[in-house]
Symmetry: C2
Subunit: 363 residues, 2 copies
C-alpha cells in the first residue's frame, strides 16, 4: 500500500529567486542582526520594521526549497509519493504582465523537480491569476502537457474578487474540461481586528488555527452560493485542512440557505445542488486536521473515499530542534488510525489509495 502526501509545499528555485529579489511582502531576506539565516515574510502583518528580525515572518531553510530535504522527510515518515505544490502566496502578488511568464517558469521548474524522482513526486501547478483570462486558460492547457502535473493549487482571491467572480468561468471551464483538480488553500486569513487588542500576544495561533480554515470555508461557500457547481458540474476541488470548517458547518449552512428570505424570494432555495451533494460529488478533503474528532466529521461529510492524507510540510516542523520525527505528521497519522479503528481498508484508502486513484499517480 502506498502512502501519498498530497499537502506538501515547495518553494522551487525560480520562486526563491523571485522572493529574494523583492523588498516588499512577500519576500525573503537576510537581516543584519542575524546574517546567517534568512527569513520568509509573506503577510503584511508579519512585516513590522520596528520588530526584531527574529519576530518577522519565519526562518526559511533548505527544507523550504531543497528537494532532497523533501525526499528525506518522505523517507523519514514512510511517505512513498508526494504531490508537491507551491506554498502561499503563489503568484497572487505579481503585476499582470509578469505573472504569465513567472507561472510558466515555476511550473516547468516544479515539473523538473518531479522528474528527478520519477514515481515519487507529482505536483499541483500554479496559475497566473493576475494576468488576463486568456493567459490563465493557456497555462491550464499547458499544464496538461507537463508530465507530473495533476491539477493546480490556488488561494481564495481569484482575480482579486474571490472565487465567486463570474470572470473566473473560463478558468473553471478549462479546469473542468481538462480534469484538473483545484487544491484550494488559504493564505489571507481574516482581518486582524477580529482577534482583538490582545491578538498578537497569542503569536500566530488565531490566524493559523482559525483564520486559515475560515478563509477556506468562506471561499468554498461563496463558490457554492454563486452556483459555480451548477455551471461546472464536473469541477473538482480539494479543500485544505479537511475543508476548513465545512464538514462541521454544512448542516447549519443548509439550514441558513433554506431559511433565507432573500434567497427564497429569488427562487434560490429549492431546485439547487445542496452542500451535501457537492461534498460527495465535487469536493475532496485532505486529512490535515490533527485529531480524529474533526477527521470523523470530514469522513462523514464527504466519505472515506474522498479523503486524502497530507502533512503540510515544511510547516509545523518538529517541536524539538534535534527531533527527527515531525509531531504534526504523527498527529495526522494517529488521527487516521483512530478514526478508522477496525476498518483498515478505509485507512489505507485515505493514506494513499484514494490519491493514487483520484490523481492518477500510476500513469
Amino acid at each position: 500500500m502506498p502512502i501519498v502526501d498530497i499537502h506538501t509545499h515547495i518553494y522551487p528555485p525560480t520562486y526563491m529567486d523571485l522572493l529574494r529579489s523583492r523588498t516588499t511582502v512577500p519576500y525573503v531576506r537576510t537581516f543584519p542582526d542575524a546574517p546567517d539565516s534568512s527569513r520568509l515574510i509573506i503577510l503584511p502583518g508579519e512585516d513590522d520594521p520596528s520588530a526584531p528580525s527574529t519576530s518577522r515572518g519565519r526562518p526559511i531553510g533548505p527544507e523550504y526549497f531543497d528537494i532532497k530535504q523533501k525526499i528525506a522527510f518522505m523517507d523519514q515518515h514512510k511517505i512513498d509519493k508526494s504531490v508537491i505544490s507551491l506554498a502561499n502566496p503563489w503568484l497572487d502578488f505579481l503585476p499582470e504582465d509578469e505573472a504569465g511568464e513567472a507561472a510558466r517558469k515555476i511550473n516547468d521548474d516544479v515539473n523538473a523537480l518531479c522528474a528527478e524522482y520519477p514515481g515519487r513526486l507529482y505536483a499541483f501547478g500554479t496559475l497566473p491569476l493576475s494576468a488576463n483570462t486568456e493567459t490563465i486558460v493557456k497555462e491550464v492547457e499547458r499544464l496538461k502537457g507537463l508530465k507530473y502535473m495533476r491539477g493546480v493549487i490556488m488561494g481564495t482571491s481569484g482575480l482579486g474578487k474571490g472565487l465567486d467572480d463570474a470572470n473566473l468561468d473560463p478558468m473553471y471551464a478549462a479546469l473542468e474540461k481538462h480534469s484538473q483538480i483545484i487544491f484550494l488553500h488559504p493564505h489571507y486569513g481574516l482581518p486582524a481586528e477580529v482577534y482583538g487588542p490582545r491578538g498578537s500576544e497569542y503569536g500566530h495561533v488565531l490566524p493559523l488555527a482559525l483564520g486559515f480554515p475560515l478563509e477556506t470555508t468562506i471561499a468554498v461557500c461563496r463558490m457554492l452560493l454563486s452556483g459555480v457547481w451548477d455551471r461546472f458540474k464536473g469541477l473538482n476541488v480539494l479543500l485544505a485542512h479537511s475543508g476548513g470548517t465545512l464538514p462541521f458547518l454544512a448542516g447549519r449552512l443548509e439550514s441558513c440557505v433554506k431559511h433565507d428570505g432573500h434567497l427564497k424570494k429569488a427562487g434560490k432555495t429549492e431546485n439547487r445542488r445542496d452542500v451535501w451533494d457537492i461534498l460527495k460529488t465535487n469536493i475532496y478533503l485532505d486529512a490535515v486536521i490533527y485529531s480524529e474528532v474533526g477527521l470523523g466529521a470530514a469522513v462523514q461529510a464527504s466519505g472515506a473515499d474522498r479523503l486524502l492524507f497530507g502533512t503540510d510540510h515544511p510547516f509545523f516542523p518538529p517541536l524539538e530542534e534535534d527531533a527527527k520525527e515531525w509531531h504534526s505528521v504523527n498527529a495526522n497519522y494517529s488521527a487516521i488510525s483512530k478514526a478508522f479503528e477496525g476498518n483498515n481498508g478505509a485507512a489505507k484508502d485515505v493514506l494513499g489509495n484514494n490519491a493514487v486513484r483520484i490523481l492518477r499517480l500510476e500513469e
Copy 2:
C-alpha cells in the same frame, strides 16, 4: 424523560419597550410602506435607509415577545422545559449609566415570565456589561436570588475588548463563585468585507452560517489563550451552535499552540490546560447544529453528557407560512436521533437529562 430546550430566545416586554423607543440600531420600528408589521433591526448592516423596509432587518411578531407563543411552540414540539434567554444584542449598546437599571428590570421581567409557568420555564439572565465592574458583579449576585435564573447569556464583546480582557476577572470570579454558567452566544459576526463584493447576493447566509460560529470560536479561543480557565478552573461556559467550530478545529488549535514560536519563547506551550481538557471540564455545547455530522464531532469533543438540546426559537421559523412544524427543530431532533442510533440513553441525556442535571431544573 423531559425534553429541555436550552437555546430559546425571548424579547420580554421591558426589552421591547426599550427597542421601540430607539431610532438607531438596535431598534424595532413600523415603516410607512408596511404599517401593519414591525421590523427588528439589530445590525448596522441591516439598516440601509435606501433599501425597502421589507429588506431591513427581519419581521418581528408576537413569537418574539409573547410568552404564550413560546409555550405553544414548546407544546407543538413536545418540549417540556425551556431555559429562555434574551436575544442578541442584549444590553451591549446601552450607555454606562442606563445598563444597570435596564438589566435589573429585564431580568426581573424574564423571571416573572418564568413564574407564570412554574416547572416549564427557567432563564439565563443578562448582565449590564457597559456599566462598571461593581454593577456587573452586583447583578450576578442579585441573579442568584431570582428563583428561575440559571446563569447568564452573553455576547463576545465583554466590556468592549472581548472576553480575554483582564478587567472581566471580577465578573468571572463572581460567576464561578455562584456557579452561574455563561451561555456564550454570537452577535457581531465578522467584518462584511470577508464575504466579498457579492456577499449581499446571498442574503444573510454567510454572516449567519459562518460569521456567527466563527465569532463564537474566536471568542472562546481568546478566553482559552488568555488563561481564563487557568485562573477560574470552575467557570462553566455553554457554547451556542455546538461550539461554533471549536470541536472541529480543536486539533488544529492544539497543533498551532504547540508549534508557535512566540508562545514557546514565552513558556506558554507546556504546563497548560489544553483545549481537550477544557472541552471536557468547563465547556458545554448546545446541539443546535442541524446535522449529525457536526453533532458527532461535538459529542466526541465534549462527551454526550455535556451536550444539550436547543432550538434557537423564534429564529429559523417554519419554511412554509402555514406550516405548524418547525423544520429547524426537526432537523436538530433528527441529528440527535441519527448521531445516537442504538444509544437511546445518550439521546435522552442530550434531549433533557443533561440540562436538568447541569442547570438544576428540578429545584
